[in-house]
């Protein structure tokens, strides 16, 4: 008996909606902008520092906004701090008189960090990035003076920026890992959402800085660099997007059948990647179109990516695909879509490599090799099933969670922060509510 796909997915819908879409989008932009602002600070001319300053001034409020969106999305917003501190311990410390008359020992045990859970790590990363970007804003208040030297120039400033970039990159990508670390359709079917969000953060961050640079004094050299960085980010995102589509396997077909899936694929690929990339690579195109136009398109594509991906999984839960579970376990190659994907990837790769080869021989060869690797990965994903690929997965010792392979009755596992011994559940027996 063959089962329909609807009969193989039983998860409930977490109802992550618009707040989360906006967070994924703006959080990515904030991280991208911070990264590029630092790059301009490090390698730009003196007069370009104005643009870097604008970048810092944008990244900080954006990340604050993100925190607000995430709080609003909670069903109990007033408990947002539970993400960082064990509420029970905090209450206990308060009862012991913290901070005035004791309770310090308890409060020091209060922070909770489950490093194997993307959401738990992400909450801390947001706090850390908020701090970094705030200090960078402080350092950017005046172009000269002690604060600017301490927070944007000196050794401490550089260290701060490097930490900021690292945490920013984390924020840009962990949101993808968060979606993968579920049991939802599409989200949990690909390992490539995290890198996809990361590259998209870089390209949308570039786009925002290009738009900002229209309003500030910036050297031609800096602008040219930004444009080159954007081209690189877009090309990388295009490669990751192709691999992402292939890595979905046969789930690509039901994804395409949903409206959200079409927005995801057409919006990201067409609007956000191919068009802006083509504009960047056509020096003959009018300047306004090549800069502002491409930036706006890239921003629209980044939004389509977050919207499409976040709403595609619930769409598949409410309107399950008319496919059998065997169909979903076939290699993508056996369908029309698989062949189209491979053909498109190979054509694009060949065109890009040739275009570069015409201009510079060795760069062309290098591009060719890189694109060959990408095409190879796309073909591999298209031709294999998840079961085939299981052999290639990371070995067991890479398990990061204490819950993995926890035996029956085998201790606390991922529950290390909890103390059931102290817990008194509400009960009719004790009359405790």
């Amino acid at each position: 008996m063959s089962l329909f796909a609807a009969d193989t997915v039983f998860v409930a819908n977490p109802e992550w909606g618009w707040w989360i879409v906006l967070y994924f989008y703006l959080g990515g932009i904030a991280a991208g902008v911070y990264f590029l602002a630092t790059m301009i600070d490090l390698f730009g001319h003196e007069e370009d520092h104005e643009l870097a300053r604008l970048g810092y001034f944008l990244a900080f409020p954006l990340i604050i906004l993100c925190g607000m969106f995430l709080t609003l999305d909670l069903d109990r917003p007033e408990r947002f701090w539970h993400m960082l501190f064990q509420s029970e311990r905090v209450h206990e410390a308060l009862d012991e008189g913290w901070p005035l008359s004791g309770g310090w020992e308890t409060i020091l045990q209060a922070p909770i960090l489950k490093y194997w859970s993307p959401m738990s790590l992400g909450a801390w990363a947001l706090a850390l990035f908020g701090l970094c970007s705030f200090l960078s804003v402080l350092g950017s208040l005046k172009q000269k003076g002690f604060l600017a030297w301490l927070l944007r120039r000196g050794l401490f400033g550089r260290l701060l920026q490097i930490i900021g970039i690292a945490v920013g990159f984390f924020i840009a990508s962990y949101t993808g890992a968060l979606l993968t670390a579920t049991n939802q359709p599409i989200w949990s079917d690909s390992d490539w959402i995290a890198p996809l969000f990361l590259t998209s953060a870089a390209s949308t961050g570039c786009a925002v800085l290009i738009l900002l640079s229209r309003r500030s004094r910036v050297s031609a050299a800096a602008f040219e660099r930004l444009e080159r960085a954007d081209t690189w980010a877009l090309a990388l995102e295009l490669a990751v997007f192709a691999i992402f589509l292939a890595s979905l396997g046969s789930w690509l077909l039901p994804l395409w059948d949903t409206f959200q899936g079409k927005v995801l694929i057409l919006g990201t690929l067409g609007l956000g990647l191919l068009l802006p990339l083509a504009l960047h690579l056509t020096p003959e195109a009018p300047r306004g179109l090549r800069t502002t136009g491409a930036a706006l398109l890239s921003l629209a594509g980044g939004f389509a990516l977050r919207y499409g991906l976040l709403f595609a999984a619930p769409a598949l839960l409410t309107h399950p695909p008319h496919m059998t579970s065997e169909d979903l376990h076939r290699p993508l190659w056996e369908s029309q879509a698989g062949k189209i994907l491979v053909a498109l990837t190979l054509t694009l790769a060949a065109l890009l490599a040739l275009a570069v080869l015409k201009r510079a021989f060795w760069s062309g060869i290098a591009t060719g090799i890189a694109l060959g690797l990408v095409s190879g990965l796309v073909c591999w994903y298209t031709l294999t099933t998840p079961e085939d690929r299981a052999h290639w997965q990371l070995p067991g010792w890479v398990e990061i969670s204490p819950e993995a392979d926890r035996p029956r009755g085998g201790g606390v596992g991922a529950s290390a922060f909890n103390r059931p011994d102290k817990l008194q559940p509400p009960s009719k027996i004790t009359g405790q509510r």
């Binding site: 990264f35 539970h82 509420s87 489950k114 995290a194 081209t231 275009a355 926890r406 059931p420």
Partner: protein, 305 residues
């Protein structure tokens, strides 16, 4: 730590009476579906197409008796069979919900069951997306995650969970896991040798199997089942995943992409700094662009040698 306890649900003796569902509602003070808002009277929702009127788990239905109607494929549907199963939170040995919960609200009790500590839950719904069985739902009343507590309070007072206590056919059995496994094996052996009245093998003999008794499904399920058809027929996934299993792979690719992005952009920013001219003013934009884009952006960092 007490001995791990669990439920062994023998679906072959379930008669679909829903006593377990009622007992669960009564003990845990759960209102009927659609009756949650105080002061507002709604009629309870009925499915209208099955004896299954609650149709799924919800914030107030922590147990759900499934009625699976099976017909022979001939046009007259000449033969019909009913599979019944009282579904509940599986209290997984490797629990996806507990693993992802960022607040620590979901915890492992001393009985090896999985419990949501409501005062700590802030409603992020990560557990809802992680549970492969669709067990957890958000409460319309208290806006926190809700699921079967395994009657944690009753366990603490040495009482049997309400559902198992109420079950009239012993379809739901409560006890220590080791003991339940032995009972389950005995019952399975019995079914494997089951004969029809005419002496032929009973159709269940080949199909009967245990789901969640061994480590294959999420390290084992503390609420495990005896089924007489595929898990999917009962609305149970064959191969659910522990969410953290994908995290190292995702991270690896993400770090790889981060390095490529970082190095590529670094390269884009560095390659022109050697130009001897001092700071240029902005008015002369992209005439140099054509020459500039002769420097191709695609090649991998370090590829320029």
């Amino acid at each position: 730590m007490a001995d791990p306890v669990g439920f062994f649900t023998d679906t072959t003796v379930c008669i679909g009476c829903k006593a377990c569902q009622v007992a669960c509602h009564q003990w845990n003070d759960l209102p009927a579906e659609g009756m949650q808002t105080p002061g507002k009277v709604h009629l309870p929702v009925l499915s209208g197409n099955s004896y299954d009127n609650t149709t799924s788990f919800s914030d107030v239905n922590w147990r759900h008796v499934k009625f699976i109607e099976q017909f022979t494929p001939d046009p007259n549907r000449s033969q019909a069979a009913w599979l019944m199963m009282s579904d509940v939170c599986k209290h997984c040995v490797d629990a996806p919900c507990l693993e992802v919960c960022p607040t620590g609200a979901i915890l492992r009790t001393e009985f090896d069951t999985v419990y949501i500590n409501e005062p700590a839950c802030n409603g992020c719904r990560d557990c809802v997306s992680a549970c492969p069985f669709g067990v957890i739902h958000m409460s319309e009343r208290s806006h926190v995650a809700q699921k079967c507590t395994f009657c944690y309070d009753r366990l603490k007072h040495n009482l049997t969970p309400a559902c198992a206590q109420a079950c009239p056919t012993q379809s739901i059995r409560f006890g220590k896991i080791t003991e339940l496994k032995r009972i389950a094996q005995d019952r399975l052996t019995q079914l494997k040798n089951l004969k029809d009245p005419d002496g032929r093998k009973h159709p269940w003999a080949d199909k009967a199997h245990l789901y969640g008794a061994d480590e294959k499904v999420l390290g084992g399920l503390n609420a495990f089942y005896l089924l007489v058809d595929t898990p999917e027929t009962y609305g149970l996934p064959s191969e659910p995943k522990l969410p953290s299993r994908s995290v190292p792979r995702s991270s690896l690719w993400a770090i790889f992409s981060a390095l490529l992005t970082g190095l590529g952009v670094l390269f884009a920013f560095r390659s022109r700094t050697k130009r001897p001219s001092g700071p240029q003013t902005s008015s002369r934009p992209q005439t140099a662009g054509a020459a500039g884009s002769g420097q191709p952006p695609q090649h991998p960092p370090g590829g320029q040698s």
